[in-house]
Amino acid sequence: MNRTSLRRTLVPAVAAVAAISLTACGAANEDSNDSDKGLSGTLNGGGASSQEAAQTAWRAGFQKDNGGATVNYDPVGSTGGREGFLDGGFAFAGTDSYLSDEEVAKAKETCGTDAIEVPAYVSPIAVIYNLEGVDSLKLSPQVIGDIFNAKITKWNDPKIAELNDGVDLPDADINAVHRSDGSGTTKNFTNYLTNVAPENWPHGAIEDWPIKNGEGANGTSGVVAAVKDNPNSIGYADASQATELGHVEVQVGEGFVAPSAEAAAKILEVSTRVEGRPATDMAIDLDYKTSDSSAYPVVLTSYLVACQQYPDAKTADLVKGYLTYVVGTAGQQAAADNAGSAPLSAALADEALKHIADISAK
């Protein structure tokens, strides 16, 4: 009795295992048969999770043109991506903050020559709010800093009221929502506040929310849901992910600017490069203090890092091909469509393409 029931379970189990391994073989065969056009091989990269949605679009687009190529992007986070690249584990890395000077030196050791660092993903971060009956809200960076630092706790605070003439602000507690997970969005947002309003936001530019005030929510979608569900809330999130909510117009110079792809691309144009970097390094010091009212300063800038030279020709060709696609018009448009990023300006894209074109085998 026992023996038969054991057999009854064993036989299908063995059959299932066999079936799985067979299909696995089948799938592998199919892949290798399909390598008739374009580049082939496997490219491993990883890094910032902010790029994940864009990377998915890029991979799909690139693999469509290059049937035999497989690109893997591991969203381990910016720090993990840079470490993986410097250790040689990743052929390329995505990072929300550009390489530090030490990392630039280390990258030169890893690659043999100076590494390439190009902006690939620029996304405006919107300050989102949920206030009944308020269609447009203008805030200065100082006030935003005070709100997230819990110094301003009521919506009808005079500091908010004086920026919003004629807007009927409710006498309600402000529910400021932040990311409860470590996040590049938080880092870029706090970096902006630190640069523009250091007295109102004294906590520096960090990935983990530093203070205990406000509501914490998991991920971009969590922040958006929290703001949407709770009246009188304010938060920050990728502008593309929060289209249904009100976007704060942020004060820049004399004017107030709402987040848009054009305004976000503009801030990169008016900003200057980080000094003392190799020619192949396009790291940008965002000019948060710009007074150009056509630029939206709260942006997330994510870079791709790669070597100029790779030991084997296959990897070199793959990296070159992939990065050319990503930075080019098609790739930037794919990211804009799928991840809501702001396409790079023609000048920046051309410069990046020039650096990428120099990638070669040793």
């Binding site: 529910n175 205990k212 509501e215 914490g216």
Partner: protein
């Protein structure tokens, strides 16, 4: 049957068939495998968590590791305790309804439905909590703040539904099926003779349950509650999604500032952590491991004590 054929009387050795040997070998192996896995986890957590203990305060962002882990442990215990406070009485009531009150053709489906709750993935509970329960709870919290705000638990300000109380309610719903189904089984095992005797002596149904079912089932219910508590302590995804965790230590259950729990904190912070911060997370995991162990031992101890009495 085999012994019937042996003609020699007094042979003390039992016959061992290959099947017996294989089966006993397999089961012993399984037992040791569990021990080895558990020991492996404990060793891994200790080794990987140790650098967090010796790390300097600058690296930690807190004065020492205890200060770092304590708010998380506090949140874990508080959320689980409130969840048990909600779930246990509810589960015992449900179990009684199924075992003693409901007519048989209703009891079966109710029991099956409760068991079904256990099959729902925690991330689904998380979605339900964040999308449905939290917004619905906000008016309740505002009422609590207005009317019971003098109590430290309901101080507010109630600006969000994603509070510790909401998280505890979600945990309670998740622990409910475990406690219910074990309690139900235990209650159903109560000797019919005891029950009939109580009824024959003139006890009402409630008195009969109090006199026979509860004393008989006490240890089983306690074990069930401990298992439920284990689930509540270790729950990760639902809490990470539902709770607005900011790391304070507070008994204020309805504000947007809540202590996080260990498991949820690991899930939230791990993806972007490197270096010593990973060790810190693993050390907090070790803490949870030890706490869960202690809870289980306590549960077993209480349960075994109850058994001797019964």
């Amino acid at each position: 049957m085999a012994t019937a054929h042996t003609t020699e009387a007094g042979s003390s050795r039992a016959v061992r068939r290959p099947g017996d040997v294989i089966f006993s070998g397999l089961s012993t192996g399984a037992a040791f495998l569990i021990l080895a896995a558990l020991a492996g986890v404990a060793i891994f957590l200790t080794i990987e968590g140790w650098p967090a203990v010796t790390a300097s305060s600058g690296e930690l962002g807190a004065d020492n590791i205890v200060l770092h882990v304590w708010p998380l442990l506090f949140g874990t215990l508080l959320a689980a305790a409130i969840a048990m406070l909600i779930a246990t009485p509810l589960a015992i009531g449900l179990a009684l309804v199924i075992s003693h009150y409901a007519p048989r053709r209703l009891a079966g489906p109710i029991g099956a439905l409760i068991d079904l709750l256990a099959a729902v993935p925690s991330v689904v509970y998380g979605l339900w909590g964040i999308q449905y329960l939290a917004p619905k709870m906000l008016p309740v919290y505002q009422w609590l703040q207005d009317n019971l705000g003098f109590l430290p638990f309901f101080e507010g300000p109630a600006t969000t539904g994603r509070t510790l109380l909401t998280a505890s309610v979600v945990l309670a719903v998740m622990a409910l099926p475990i406690i219910t189904s074990i309690s139900r089984e235990v209650f159903a095992q109560t000797p019919v003779l005891h029950q009939e005797a109580a009824l024959a002596l003139g006890a009402t149904r409630w008195e009969m349950i109090r006199l026979t079912v509860f004393p008989y089932g006490r240890s089983g219910v306690i074990s069930a509650a401990m298992l439920g508590l284990g689930r509540a302590l270790g729950e990760t995804m639902a809490i990470a999604m539902v709770l607005s965790a900011t790391g304070v230590i507070s008994f204020n259950l309805i504000s947007n500032q809540n202590p996080s729990t260990i498991a949820a904190n690991i899930a939230l912070k791990f993806p972007e952590s490197t270096g010593v911060h990973v060790n810190v997370l693993i050390f907090s995991g070790l803490t949870l491991f030890v706490v869960t162990f202690l809870v289980n031992f306590a549960g077993r101890w209480i349960a075994s004590r109850g058994q001797v009495k019964g």
